[in-house]
């Protein structure tokens, strides 16, 4: 029999209904695990002190009404850039150390309304500036598969929380790779919804034009359930899409992928990519063919162009978004920003300055439009494109030192889809050096159902979604 921390959302609900355990049991179980492993892994920055009271109320509700809410009694790990009333929210930055939010972000409101329980807030790159969780002002999170390795980032704490099974499911946010890349490095599943599918209201902004909140979980199914809950038009976020939210869970359990057309992007099999990583992606393509999908080689712009576009746009928006931390109102001076954040503010300020705006920002927007058009063209023929999430497995601790472009190089295969605001699922597709490798399945805007269907079918017909035995790995 599975242990409580190993259960998926559906399995937790089955357990509640069969009275195998209560919500209080589950929460206590996670608390014990957190107490045991968190000091070593540095995943949680703050814990919800009210969690047992909430669990008791949920047990009462289940006893009275059964399970009528989709996330009832599901323990969440939440990235520390989601504002949560009652739990400090720092974005892993000293400038917001001890910041107590006045309101819940819309996504938090939605999961709470769906019955979720928040165990605590997870570590991240400071202000999400990075792909390693090493730029956190509160120390790096360690990779549960190998504590000498980085978990990826910026949602490194949330991905590690799932890999270490310190929560049933987690919330992360992606600006360009920040869900899919840590999920891949930690060997778990992550879903980046379309930009504007889930509200950004109450999430500490990184790059406003690409930030997308989404789930990290043990399975595509769990990610689909959470995405269905958090999606939808929010009157408080003008960039959310008014289109109705599809029932993503109806795309699960496809027996095959006949009539699905998938493009495997030639340019994403980078020349600098390790052969063994490349082979895992090609094997995954073969697996998808076996499931009935048509998989053909397609060509897109060299993804390295996206690095330039993304770097300029993101740094520009960052320099602006962080202006509100002006040293007057949040208790700490601007020099409390970490080095990486300062670098980004400087670069963004420069690219927006008179005389440089046209050369950098405008040019970047023009290339962005070209990237969007290119994907549009591809999705006329294909339902999804696939490629590796990262060029390789998790890097070692310290790898980001003196590497200001570390994140951009690691996220080279994810930035095009983020710039275009697409939806994408990252699923484990094998191991190299005993470290997990992720496959990205990317679909057009608002085509979450398509990416979910392919990723779910792939996951159910492979055995790559594994979890480390922490007592052996750390």
């Amino acid at each position: 029999m599975k242990q409580l921390h190993e259960l998926t959302i559906k399995e937790v609900h089955d357990g509640y209904l069969n009275k195998d355990f209560t919500c209080v049991d589950l929460v206590r179980h996670f608390q014990n695990r957190i107490e045991k492993y968190n000091p070593k892994l540095n995943i949680y920055l703050a814990l919800n002190s009210n969690v047992l009271t909430e669990a008791e109320a949920i047990d009462k509700e289940i006893a009275e009404k059964g399970i009528t809410r989709p996330l009832l009694g599901i323990p969440f790990a939440v990235k520390d850039n989601f504002l949560t009333v009652g739990i400090t929210t720092t974005a892993s930055s000293n400038i917001l150390k001890d910041y107590h939010p006045q309101y819940d972000s819309t996504v938090i409101e939605k999961i709470k309304n769906a019955g979720a329980i928040i165990l605590g807030k997870t570590n991240m790159d400071s202000f999400a500036h990075g792909s390693s969780t090493e730029t956190s002002d509160f120390g790096p999170t360690l990779n549960p598969w190998n504590p000498e390795k980085l978990p990826g980032g910026s949602s490194g704490g949330s991905a590690a929380a799932i890999a270490a099974q310190l929560a049933t499911v987690a919330l992360g946010s992606e600006t360009a790779g920040s869900i899919r890349q840590p999920a891949a490095w930690c060997g778990v599943t992550g879903l980046k919804p379309t930009y504007g599918r889930a509200s950004r209201y109450g999430i500490i902004a990184m790059a406003s034009s690409t930030d997308s909140p989404g789930p990290i979980g043990k399975s595509v199914e769990d990610c689909a359930i959470v995405t269905e809950v958090i999606s939808g038009k929010d009157p408080k976020d003008a960039t959310t899409s008014p289109s109705p939210v599809e029932k993503y869970t109806e795309s699960l359990y496809a027996t095959d992928l006949r009539s699905v057309r998938i493009g495997i992007v030639k340019e994403y099999l980078l020349t600098e990519m390790r052969e063994d990583v490349k082979n895992l992606i090609l094997n995954a393509a073969d697996k998808l063919r076996l499931l009935g999908a048509t998989v053909e080689e397609v060509s897109l712009m060299d993804p390295h162009y996206s690095i330039g576009v993304y770097t300029v746009i993101q740094r520009s928006e960052v320099s602006s978004n962080l202006a509100r931390f002006d040293g007057i109102r949040f208790g700490h001076e601007r020099d409390t920003f970490c080095e990486e954040t300062k670098r980004r503010i400087m670069l963004g300020t420069y690219t927006l300055s008179a005389g440089y705006y046209d050369a950098f920002y405008k040019k970047a927007q023009a290339v962005r439009t070209k990237i969007v058009d290119e994907f549009d063209e591809i999705f006329k023929t294909y339902d999804a494109v696939i490629g590796a999430v990262s060029p390789g497995p998790a890097h070692s601790l310290g790898a980001t030192k003196n590497q200001p472009m570390f994140g951009e190089m690691e996220d080279v295969l994810l930035e095009p889809s983020s710039i275009a605001g697409l939806t994408s699922v990252g699923v484990p597709c094998g191991f190299v050096d005993n470290l997990p490798i992720g496959l990205q399945i990317t679909s057009n805007q608002l085509k979450e159902s398509t990416a979910i269907k392919i990723a779910d079918c792939f996951q159910r017909h492979t055995q790559f979604q594994l979890f480390p035995d922490l007592d052996k790995t750390i």
Binding site: I204, A238, S353, Y357
Partner: protein, 441 residues
């Protein structure tokens, strides 16, 4: 030497919408306790996002339409970035290169057209209060005004005197009030003025332009007039002394001291801020459909100048038309209805009765008609009947007649008065007057 001032005006108008520009807080901030009308959005708290107020945008478009502007079908917001304690987010959401409205004009009474470069939408900032607290000088921030919708109307430098500037400002003031988007109360800071001034000097050595100066935040028409006049004189004088001409980098920003009645230097262009404008990523761009623009056009009332023109067309004297339109809302419609419904009404007379106060104006056509008829009651004009009455009075008053003959012609009024009395006021005074004079001749 010929000196022609070139004056442009930036006018900020606070809109009187129910809620603020990007959040649900009340927009009416005047006299409220500090920081009682705030929320995460207008306080610029982490994670908060702006959602544009459609009503405010419609008001901005209406201002644009009323100022004969072109409405840009594609528009967007931008971030204007600078640090100041009253600016919660570290940037102001404004419009940079794609304002809602552009290329309009205001027609002065002389027939001169003053070009409007653009009309755009932005948000107001908070307010600093410099006070002494427990013996310490401190600055406090009140964010009640933060995020209140603000429309900026930018003219071209087509005004060539402070008098023209004042007329232009008064017209803008009348228009925003007439279309009901703002009371534009200057004392409450609902309308703020920033003239930009320089002078074109033509002399034997050619045509020269003096350096531009922008005069910040003036809150009365008279101060604007004084500041402009001071600035024209100062610049002309300065040019005569130094010969310094306008360059791309010597624009200055000046303040106006209303007590000393002088402008003073605030900063030079070298110190000017680089606002690092870029498109506001939190608000998608706007596509303004023709349908909406037509709908808004339909909702616009007649503007003061249009009402005046209509009244003049109907026969009202031009001064009377101006006085009436300025003093009474909707007067044009009411007067027009009264005058066109009743052939016997002389609209010119009706208007002058209103202007000279004999007729008390009310937005009620029946009341107007009744008063008018009272005041212009046409009496008995039967010449024969009246002649008999007058002849009798003249016969009864030989001494008055002899006074008249001696040259005291104003005693004629005596006979008219007596005749009026005799006829119990039923006689038509003009007819009577004529008869009296005829007989006495």
């Amino acid at each position: 030497m010929k000196a022609t001032p070139l004056i442009g005006l930036e006018v900020h108008v606070e809109l009187e919408t129910k809620s603020k520009m990007f959040c649900g807080c009340p927009a009416d901030h005047f006299g409220k306790d500090p920081n009682t009308q705030t929320c995460p959005v207008c306080l610029g708290l982490p994670g908060a996002l702006p959602v544009p107020n459609e009503k405010a945008i419609e008001s901005c478009l209406k201002i644009g339409l009323a100022l004969n502007c072109h409405i840009n079908s594609l528009s967007k917001f931008d971030r204007k970035q600078y640090f100041y304690p009253d600016l919660a987010k570290g940037y102001q959401i404004s419009q940079y290169d794609q304002p809602f409205c552009s290329d309009g004009f205001v027609m002065l009474d002389s027939g001169k057209r003053i070009g409007i470069e653009r009309v755009h939408m932005e948000e107001d900032t908070g307010k600093l209060q410099h006070v002494e607290l427990e013996g310490e000088k401190v600055s406090l921030v009140d964010f009640n005004r933060s995020g209140v919708p603000l429309v900026e109307i930018v003219s071209r430098p087509d005004l060539s005197s402070s008098a023209e500037a004042k007329e232009y400002l008064k017209k803008i003031h009348e228009i925003v009030r007439a279309i009901d988007v703002s009371s534009a109360d200057m004392e409450k800071g609902q309308m703020r003025l920033e003239p930009t001034v320089n002078v074109c000097i033509e002399n034997e050595s050619g045509t020269h332009y003096t350096p531009l100066s922008e005069i910040k935040n003036i809150n009365s028409f008279n101060f604007a007039t004084q500041a402009i006049d001071f600035e024209i004189a100062r610049q002309t004088d300065e040019f005569n002394k130094t010969g310094t001409e306008k360059t791309a980098i010597n624009k200055t920003t000046r303040g106006y001291d209303a007590v000393k009645k002088i402008t003073f230097l605030q900063r030079t262009k070298e110190e000017a801020k680089d606002y690092r404008y870029f498109p506001e990523p939190d608000i998608p761009p706007f596509i303004l459909e023709n349908e909406l623009i037509e709908k808004l056009k339909g909702e616009l009332p007649k503007l003061p100048d249009q009402e005046i023109a209509i009244l003049i067309d109907l026969g009202v004297g031009s001064n009377d038309a101006k006085v009436i339109v300025k003093a009474h809302k909707n007067a044009m419609e009411t007067i027009k209805t009264v005058a066109t419904a009743n052939e016997k009404i002389d609209i010119k007379k009706l208007a002058s009765l209103i202007v000279n106060g004999k007729l008390v104006y009310a937005n009620d056509k029946d009341l107007l008609l009744k008063q008018y008829q009272e005041l212009t009651k046409v009496g008995n004009t039967n010449t024969e009947e009246l002649k008999a009455v007058v002849e009798k009075i003249i016969a009864d008053n030989p001494d008055v007649v002899s006074e008249y003959k001696k040259g005291k012609t104003n005693v004629a009024g005596f006979f008219v008065g007596q005749a009026m009395k005799e006829t119990k006021g039923q006689a038509d005074p003009q007819t009577l007057n004529k008869i009296v004079l005829d007989i006495l001749k």
